[in-house]
Structures are given as C-alpha cells and as structure tokens.
C-alpha cells in the first residue's frame, strides 16, 4: 500500500478524498485524514445557516459510512505538530508517528485578526468554525439576559455580511464596520455598494463605512469600538470577519517555501518545494495568490489527486474569481474584472433605485468583448453573462441588451447554449465543461439529464447552472437525432397532445388506467390534472367526476385563497346582472360574512368561504338563478363586454348580447389554460377585447375576430384572424380555434404561447380552421358541439347529490369547523390575518 496522508479536514481536504477515490488506480493507496476539529468535514460556505437552525450534522459533507465504504481512515481531534521530510513521517499532538509516501496539506486558513488594541477582551470573536459559532451564541444569550442589544461585525466583505446576518438571527442589533469606503470592496464598485447598503439597511443592519477602529473599549469585556475620528460605537459583542490568513505554520517548520505574506508556495501541479508534499486550498499560494473561494480549492484538490495517481492534469494559469451569491436575501454577483476603467473600455450601467437593482457590464469600445461586470438586486443574468465572458463569445449588436433584456423580438440576448465552445465551463462548482456533458451523451454513457447529473455532478453545487445544463442536454439529444420531448413529468413519457390521442383512441376514462397502460409510478400533481383536463375536453366530464386527480380549485369548485378558504364567483355572463340578483349576492355575502369585490373581469367575487359552507352558499345562489362562473377551472372564465349599442351613443352592435351568447356557448369547457374573451361594440374598445384569448370588435359590416392575446405577466395583443365577418362565421371560427387549441396545446400553455410555437404561425392556423387544409374542421366542429351540448353546472351537481357533499367538510371525525382561521378588519370588511 502507498500511504497518502491528508492534513486538514475542511471542504477542500474532503474534496481531495472524494476526487481521489473516484479515480482509477486508487486501489493501491491508503488515505489517512487528520482534522483538528472534532467532527467530519462540513460545509463552511453555509456556516451561517447554523444560526438559522441547521445542525452540525446537516452541514456535514459526508457520513461516517462514506469513509468506511471508501476505506479512508479519518482521525478527528488530532493535530499534526511536525513533519519530518527526511523520514517522510508526521507527528501528532498525541505523540504518534505516521509514515507517508505523499503528504497533502489542506490546512486551510484562519481568521485574520487585525492588530487592534483590545481585541483580546471578552466578547470579541472570530467567525470561522462551528466552535466559534457556538461561543458566539452562548455569549449572545448571556448579554441579552443582561439587557444588552448591540453587536458589531468588523469587515464588510462576503463573510462579514454573512456574519451580520448571523448576528441578526441571534436577535441582536447588527452593525457592520468596514475600513474601506464601500461594502465588498473587492467585488463591487461604489454604486453597487450603495445599492447593497440601502438594501441591507432596510433590514435594520447599521452600516459604518470608512471606519478605522483604533481600540476596543471596555474593562474586561467589550463595551464599544473607538474609531479614528474619536467616534464611539457602543457594542456589547464583536465578531471579526476581516479576511483570512493561510495556515502555513506546519510548512514553515518543515522548511517548505512560503510566501512573504504567508501561504505555501505551489506549482501548477500543486506540488510544494518538497517533491512528496502537495498543498491545496486556502493554504496554498499559487501564482502569488491565495484563493479564498471554494471552486478553485476543489480544482486544486482534483489536480493534486491526479498528480499523485500519475495523471497529467495541471492547474489553469488564470483562476476566475467570479461569484454569485445571495447575501442576507440580496442577490449579488461579480465576474471578470468588475472595475476595469480605461479609454478602451465602456461601462454600461443600469440602475433602478426603486427596485433596488444595479447592473454594470464592462465592454470593449468596439462592443465586441465582455470584460467583467457587477449585478446587485437581480443576478438572474449572471450565468449567461459569465459564459459570454468566460468564453469570449460575440456580443449582441446592442450590448446593453445583455442587462436590459432584448426589447424587440422574442429571442434571448444570450443566444443559445449551442453557441458555446466545448471548453466552456458550465458548472463552475464542479468544474464541468460543456464538452464533458455532450461527450457522455454522444458516447452513450448517459442518455438523460439525471444521468448527466449523476455522472458529472454538474448542478449539484449551487444549482445556478441547471437551466443551461438542461438546454445543452436537449440540444445534444436533438443533434443525435433523438426526439426531444416535452414530456409531462417523470410518470409519462408523452406530451399532452400525445396523451390526448392515447386517451381518445383507447377511450380511457380513469386516470389509473392511463398510467397503468402508458406510464409508470403513481402520478403526481403535474400529470393528474393534465389527464383530468383531457377527460374533460373529450367527454365534458365535470370536475366532480375526477375528484382525486383534480387540483384543489377544481376539486372544491372554488379558488383557494391566502388562508386556505375559498372564493365564490357565480356566472354573470357578459357582466350583466339584474338588481334582484345583485341583492341576492349581497345577502349571501352578509349571511356568510364574506369579503366582496368586483373582479377585473366584471364579476362579483365573494372571499373567505369555508369548505363547510360552500354547498349552502351555492344552494342559495342556484335557487336564485345563478350557476358556477368556473372562476376556478382551466376553462372559460368570462367574456367581458362594453356597454353596447343598447345604451352607448357610439355602439355599433350589441356587444353585451353577443358576449352573453359566447359565454354561455363555451361555459364549462376545459382547456390547457384558462380562457378569457371580450366583445367591444366599437373601435373605442372599452372591453379591452384585444387583451384576451379571443376578442371581437364591431366594425362596419360585421365583426373583427382577434385571437391569442392575454393580459397577465406577459401581456400580448391579440392578432386579427378574420375581418368583417357575421356572427355565424365568428362562432364557426371560434369553435374550431378553441377546439384545435384544446387538442394540441401543452399543459398550462396559453393561446398566445401556443400560437408562437405553432409551426407556420397565424397563416398556418388560418389554413387549418378557415380553409380546412388538413381536413379536420368537421371533427373540430362536432367535438365542440358535443362539449357545448353536454354542459352541466358543477355546483348544482353537488347540491343535488348528498354523496358529493361529503367532500366539503374540513374534518372527517367531527362536524367542527377549522378553528385556525383568523381575520383582521379591512375598510369595513375583513382580510386574513398574516402569520
């Protein structure tokens, strides 16, 4: 056996072991690890989560079994006191001696404590290990019991801000004290720091910049910090997080070469000045630099493992220090050279103080190369920007699109993953390149996204690269001639359209028949509603027939709201209502103490109905001529209308009458997404019909029919399908359009997205539903007719059948009502109390 001894049991030491045992030829080696802490290696990057309730075990990177399984000897609480490079042995503080063939120093770093007078006083801590955190917690408890409230963190860098969050989690008032004029001085410019500062201050954390601390005030224990301008900040505790210093003591004693300001000098094989000793992680000085990020440390671990196993992998010349993280809930990222400023560089800056977003990219004057940048408040562009920077990819014509988003057309400013070179590092946590992902798919080692994750570990770190890995896997599969499917979920390897055909041809009417014959597992919250929706579209089965596979809204025929109660929306076709009916709604709301509001679609919404009360509420409404408005379903919600020619002096046609007719025609049909309509009686368009899935506008000689618009988060104007057509033609085209959409759209795909994805677009759609190019119009017509003719009110079904009423009780074993609901007043009505 060849002995490899690893000194240091931190993240990098652990990663070395993990990399080593995964490589071929390692069977002849015995790894022994020494750690001075009492526990297995843990995730120091997420240390502050320890304050937020995570246990030391939660943070642990592995299990005791893992070491056993991989035949690694782990010695915790054992400190190495010296290395004898002549005999190739080490001595531990227990006076034991171990022989090595190769030694790996992964001793990491210690907190740097600036030489400030009084730092030895009680109540001053560093922020580095779980023991440090335990000591901080104990002390915080003690001072809080004495009424003390203030705590400071020295250092406004990454770790300092993490520490400030930790202090706040201990319910102390936190202050961050930074010597530099800005926060995260190595990653952010002044404007970005200002933005971050205001976000952090919103969380009641005090920020004190430009502060040189002269001495720590107090007798035995800390009472305050005295700054250079004689200003005193009164604090009862101080956590120092002002940087790191490499742990190179062992190396020094052993006579290995170390840097002037510390750090064990290594070459690109991670070899120290001794040919049998390697150094990795924050203890290693590579290219004159100490790298305090985990990604370079992991890469060093891999290089050292390769070298010991006689591989030829070496460390890259330049190491990227780009980072993306969430600090105290604020997204922050910086990449490349974030500060570069000279006559050849233009900085493009987007700053939105209202939303707290700052973005800066540094681009060469010719607009061709991205050199670096900073993102605060919204770092969603980071992955795309980092890939462009890291692979020196071409920039879009207007580089500002990279941070402002493309303002024309639909394509992303970042291009697609297929533009990336094979050398592009996609997952920087695990250093996985695009080539590695593609190769494994091409040579058949992997065939799915989850295979790729298992093999390469890509996405298993921070997870930020996941969308890109998914894209690459899809693109590669496509290039291999494999069909890339928008499968519904893990239970069905089919698209919604395929399922539609499967159900139709086999005449299935039960979810479990479909999954047993064509899927696997037990189904889930994704595929069950899809299949239920297909049943409804084919047979117009109401939600009452497929209760088990319907999501909560369809199952209880109401919309679940913030506190778990439901809202009730009776149909009010076209928005028309008689005074008598208005009074009924008012009386129901009063009787059941419901909050009442007019919705955006001209309906009346009654909120706060408890499950137990729903059937009784519906009964009153139905007895007075109402029916369900399907406000809960992926179905026709409403057809909005303007006043119309009956009352409006401009009206050209009867928009109200037509809206009522359309709403009643399509009420109850289920679709991949909710559908809304609008009818305006003139081009003034008071019904906002062009913001709907279908919209009609009265013009000279008939109606203009618009389709595939929507409001919501990504509003789309509807497009013109046919001009000046009569009512009969409108209905014909509408039937076909809706039915074709219902048959072919993916789950939860709106009509606008459906049309975008439809090959051939609007022209093709016209060919299909107007000119019957593929000969399906007759089928579409008859399918829609059967849906229209089989309408039933779901509320009515429930109140007529006591068997169905059983669903609407909160408890199975008692008639009591949910006693957890609490309300507070709101403008003469009420709203759910926030927890």
């Amino acid at each position: 056996m060849i002995n490899v001894i690893v000194v240091g049991n931190g993240m990098v030491g652990y990663k070395f072991c993990e990399k080593f045992v995964s490589k071929s030829g390692q069977e002849k080696y015995q790894i022994t690890v020494f750690g001075e802490e009492s526990r297995r290696a843990y995730d120091r990057v997420h240390l502050s989560e320890y304050f937020a309730g995570k246990s030391a075990d939660d943070l642990s990177l592995s299990t005791t079994e893992w070491y056993k399984e991989n035949n690694i000897l782990l010695n915790t609480s054992e400190l190495i006191v010296n290395i004898n490079t002549q005999n190739k042995t080490i001595n531990t503080h227990l006076d034991k001696t171990y022989e090595y063939d190769y030694l790996v120093l992964a001793t990491g770093s210690a907190a740097f404590v600036p030489p400030i007078q009084g730092v030895e006083k009680e109540g001053v801590f560093v922020y580095r290990t779980i023991e440090d955190l335990d000591a901080i917690m104990t002390y915080a408890k003690k001072i809080k019991a004495n009424g003390a409230t203030e705590a400071a963190v020295l250092g406004g860098g990454l770790l300092g801000l993490e520490a400030a969050k930790a202090v706040r989690d201990l319910e102390l008032n936190a202050h961050v004290v930074e010597f530099a004029p800005r926060l995260m001085p190595r990653q952010l410019d002044q404007a970005a720091s200002d933005m971050l500062q205001s976000k952090i201050e919103e969380l009641n954390i005090g920020i004190h910049l430009n502060k040189a601390t002269q001495y720590i005030d107090g007798e035995e224990s800390i009472k305050g910090m005295m700054f250079a301008n004689d200003e005193l900040l009164k604090v009862d505790m101080l956590v120092i997080s002002a940087g790191i210093k490499p742990r190179d003591e062992l190396a020094r004693v052993a006579g290995l070469e170390v840097g002037v300001r510390g750090g064990i000098v290594v070459n690109n094989q991670m070899l120290t000045s001794d040919p049998y000793i390697y150094a990795i992680g924050e203890a290693a000085l590579y290219n004159g630099m100490i790298y305090g990020l985990v990604a370079p440390g992991y890469e060093m671990a891999d290089v050292a493992a390769e070298q010991i196993l006689k591989g030829d992998k070496t460390m890259r010349e330049t190491i990227d220090m780009s980072t993306q993280l969430k600090l105290i809930g604020v997204e922050v990222a910086s990449f490349g050279d974030p500060f570069i400023e000279n006559e050849n560089v233009t900085a493009i800056v987007y700053e939105n103080k209202f939303s707290g977003i700052y973005k800066r990219i540094n681009v060469t004057k010719d607009g061709k190369t991205l050199l670096g940048g900073i993102l605060v408040g919204d770092s969603s562009d980071y992955n795309g920007l980092f890939q462009i920077y890291n692979n020196a990819m071409a920039l879009p014509e207007n580089p500002e699109d990279l941070i402002l988003g493309s303002r024309g057309g639909e394509t992303s400013s970042f291009g697609s993953a297929s533009d990336l070179p094979d050398s592009a590092v996609i997952c920087s946590c695990e250093n996985v390149t695009k080539g590695a992902i593609c190769c494994s798919l091409i040579d058949g080692t992997t065939s799915t996204f989850s295979d790729v994750v298992k093999l390469t570990k890509a996405t298993s770190g921070c997870g930020g690269c996941k969308p890109m890995v998914v894209d690459i896997v899809k693109a590669t599969q496509k290039s291999l001639g494999k069909e890339v499917k928008e499968s519904i979920c893990e239970h069905f390897n089919y698209t919604r359209q395929e399922l539609f055909d499967i159900v139709k041809i086999n005449k299935y009417s039960n979810f479990y028949d479909v999954i047993d014959h064509h899927g696997n597992g037990d189904g889930c919250e994704v595929c069950k509603p899809v299949v239920a929706s297909v049943f409804s579209s084919l047979y117009n089965d109401t939600a009452n027939k497929h209760v088990t596979t319907q999501d909560t809204n369809d199952r209880f025929l109401g919309n679940i709201q913030r506190n778990g109660t439901y809202s009730v929306v009776p149909r009010m076709a076209g928005g028309e209502i008689t005074p008598e009916k208005l009074i009924v709604i008012g009386e129901v709301a009063k009787q059941f103490d419901l909050y009442t509001k007019i919705t955006g679609a001209q309906r009346l919404d009654l909120f706060g109905a408890q499950l137990n009360d729903l059937p009784a509420i519906w009964k009153i409404l139905i007895d007075n001529g109402f029916e369900t408005g399907h406000a809960y379903g992926k179905s026709l919600r409403a057809v909005k209308s303007c006043v119309g020619n009956a009352w409006c002096r401009y009206g050209m046609d009867d928009s109200v009458g037509f809206a009522i007719e359309l709403e009643n025609r399509y009420k109850g049909i289920r679709a991949p997404h909710k559908i809304k309509g609008g009818v305006s009686a003139c081009i003034r368009e008071c019904a906002e019909a062009r913001g709907k899935d279908f919209g009609l506008i009265a013009v000279e000689g008939g109606w203009n029919l618009y389709i595939c618009g929507n409001g919501g988060a990504n509003p789309k104007h509807a497009v013109l399908l046919a001009e000046s057509i009569d009512k009969e033609t409108v209905l014909k085209y509408m039937d076909r359009f809706l039915m074709y959409y219902i048959r072919t759209a993916g789950p939860l795909v709106r009509t606008s997205t459906w049309l975008e994805k439809l090959e051939g677009g609007l022209d093709y759609l016209k060919e299909v539903i107007i000119f019957d190019r593929i000969g399906i119009c007759e089928t579409l017509d008859s399918e829609m007719a059967s849906l229209i003719n089989s309408y039933e009110c779901e509320w009515n079904q429930v109140i007529e059948k006591p068997r169905l009423m059983k669903r609407f009780t909160h408890f199975v074993n008692t008639d009591e009502r949910d006693d957890n609901l609490e309300y507070i007043p709101l403008r003469d009505q009420k709203m759910p109390k926030s927890w």
Partner: protein
C-alpha cells in the same frame, strides 16, 4: 406561527403511546386525504389505496401555516409517496416528511395502523 408549528412533531412507530381512532376506512376517500382533529392538532390522513398504504402528517403547510395539506394531491417521485401542498405545490415525502423540492421546510409525520375497518393514528400523548 411558530407555536402552531411546534404542535407538530414526527412520531416514530416505536415511540407511539396512544393509538387514536380516527375513523373507519370508509370515512377516508381513496387516493386522497382527509383531515382529522385530535386535541389541538389537525392531522391529514391519506388512504393511498393504489399502493395499499396509509400515511398521516400535519395538516398545516409548513410554508404558509395554512391548514390545507389534506386537500393536496397525492403522488410519487422516484417511487417515494408524496403529498403536494395545494397552496404553492411544495411536495413532501409521506414517509419521512422531508421536502422533495429541496429546501428545509419539513412536515411532521405520524404512524397509521388499520385494525379491521378502523383507522388509528399514533401519538405520544
């Protein structure tokens, strides 16, 4: 809010002190959930008939503290039986209560036993 969540703690089968009769099999819909009240607790019980298994967990969604889990949809991920919260679709293992979407919100689970036609849930007190 915390006080509400503190009411719920996973009970292991070996630790059960009280078997509470929640009802009869026919009271619980198949492949769905039903909620029962036990002292100050609301417990969701799932008759996962397709797998011939029964599960119980807290009815409170740990995310927004609403009493709704019994109204969620049952299913499985990689063979693990799960419940999806109807509010925001976080999914939880019915076996150990862990959050299958990755973050650290967990739910408490309780043992269920069937004797004859009767359904019992295990509690510590």
């Amino acid at each position: 809010m915390e006080e509400l969540l503190n009411r719920y703690e996973t009970v292991n089968l070996s630790a059960v002190k009280i078997w509470f009769k929640a009802g009869e099999i026919k009271d619980f819909p198949s492949n769905r959930g039903g909620c029962i009240k036990y002292k100050d607790k609301q417990i969701a019980i799932f008759n996962f008939e397709r797998r011939n298994e029964w599960y119980a967990c807290q009815n409170a969604c740990p995310h927004k503290m609403e009493m709704v889990l019994s109204r969620g949809m049952t299913g499985s991920t990689d063979g693990i039986p799960k419940i999806a919260c109807p509010m925001h679709k976080k999914t939880f293992s019915l076996v150990d209560g862990s959050n299958l979407n990755g973050d650290d919100l967990k739910i408490a689970t309780y043992p269920v036993k069937i004797e004859g036609e009767e359904v019992f849930v295990g509690f510590l007190e």
